[in-house]
Symmetry: C2
Subunit: 232 residues, 2 copies
């Protein structure tokens, strides 16, 4: 399926936004659109011909499997995010869709060529990569020494921010994109602890649960206080 950049919702924010219309049109010839359903994998750790992609809609997770077979979520990818290890001979982690997702996929070799052809693209990808690095380090800080409750509070706060359309305020109500098990694997906790602490956050009056995945922020300030972060 061919790309339709004209109607692309992340046209202005993805890496390819730095290209001129002509350049983007040329790049689009090499790429193609792809849709993944929840649970479908874009590529797996160890794949030697892993593609690169920009996420258009939906959400992805980047995860690794330790030797006991436990999954660990290392990063989430939101729309306009870029996926792909350009210089590694093979992929180091799995990339899986959390919700139905639409992507703009490129073969790695094509993208490497594009980087050389369009210097602005390399710069844009460098910027994204640095942002990803920052996100990864933030997750490190979060899981470093914080209590289970603080980790959960911080994660919920982040999700609320990500669920909001405008960047200046956070959503008061949203659906968790992750199952309890996925939250646990991301925060280095167990399913049971996540479930218990969610209950305690509700009892404390910080949030209200709606069904299995719905979260309403009752007291965002309290949530942030429990997360042990500076007010942003």
């Amino acid at each position: 399926m061919n790309l339709h950049c004209d109607t692309c919702p992340v046209r202005g924010s993805a890496a390819c936004a730095v290209l001129s219309d002509d350049e983007r049109a040329a790049l689009a010839k090499a790429g193609r659109s792809r849709t993944l359903n929840r649970g479908e994998m874009l590529f797996a750790a160890g794949d030697d011909e892993a593609a690169c992609a920009t996420l258009i809609t939906g959400a992805l997770k980047v995860s690794g499997i330790d030797k006991d077979g436990n999954e660990q979520i290392l990063a989430l990818v939101h729309p306009a995010g870029f996926i792909g290890e350009l210089f590694a001979p093979f992929a180091h982690h799995d990339v899986v869709a959390l919700t139905e997702s639409r992507l703009c996929v490129f073969a790695r070799s094509d993208l490497e060529r594009a980087i050389d052809t369009y210097p602005a693209l390399a710069r844009a990808l460098l910027r994204r990569s640095q942002e990803d690095l920052l996100a990864s380090r933030n997750l490190l800080e979060m899981t470093g020494q914080a209590s289970a409750e603080a980790r959960l509070a911080a994660l919920i706060h982040d999700f609320a921010a990500a669920a909001s359309d405008t960047s200046c305020h956070i959503a008061a109500r949203f659906e968790l994109p992750l199952t309890r098990g996925e939250i646990a694997s991301m925060l280095g906790l167990t399913i049971e602890t996540v479930s218990r602490k969610l209950g305690e956050l509700e009892t404390a009056g910080a949030i209200r649960r709606e069904g299995k995945r719905g979260i309403e922020l009752v007291d965002p300030a309290l949530l942030q206080a429990l997360s042990g972060r500076q007010s942003a």
Copy 2:
């Protein structure tokens, strides 16, 4: 102090290695050499005019401070490594020398200009950034659900690999670049636990301690087994 690329030990492996001699000479005009002693800071979190740098010799740590004042080490930087957040308005983390270190420092504005002038440099920095991202995610995996003993074993193994000059084997003897407290902050443990587990690794016959910082690898295979990793 001016740069002397001719005698630079990381001339072949740092980001600037992708430049031609002429290009590097031009870039060198904008940069300058700087030496840091152990504990000296390159820049602090919040600095709005944080520089960028390539590490020539020594070792650095990238760390954050949580609101209780506890330091958390987020990454280590080895020679040829690049430091600097090119697109952020201010630095997010502290960067501090672990040992006496020599760096090649650039103002951020100069480096941004260089990226535009030399596309190959952007590509090289993108590559480094992706490697840093991978390292950060590896640390995430390591601190995610592993036991204190496994984390220590893995860290010691990594240090042994980093201390080796050739990439194909690991050093049998080396000095830990970190204090117990720094190891603890990097692994999300306490000083006491680090000290105890080091003792247990010695009792188990995996390592031998020499003074406060010296480590001799008695049984590397055992160490790797305890770290819970695949044999590389």
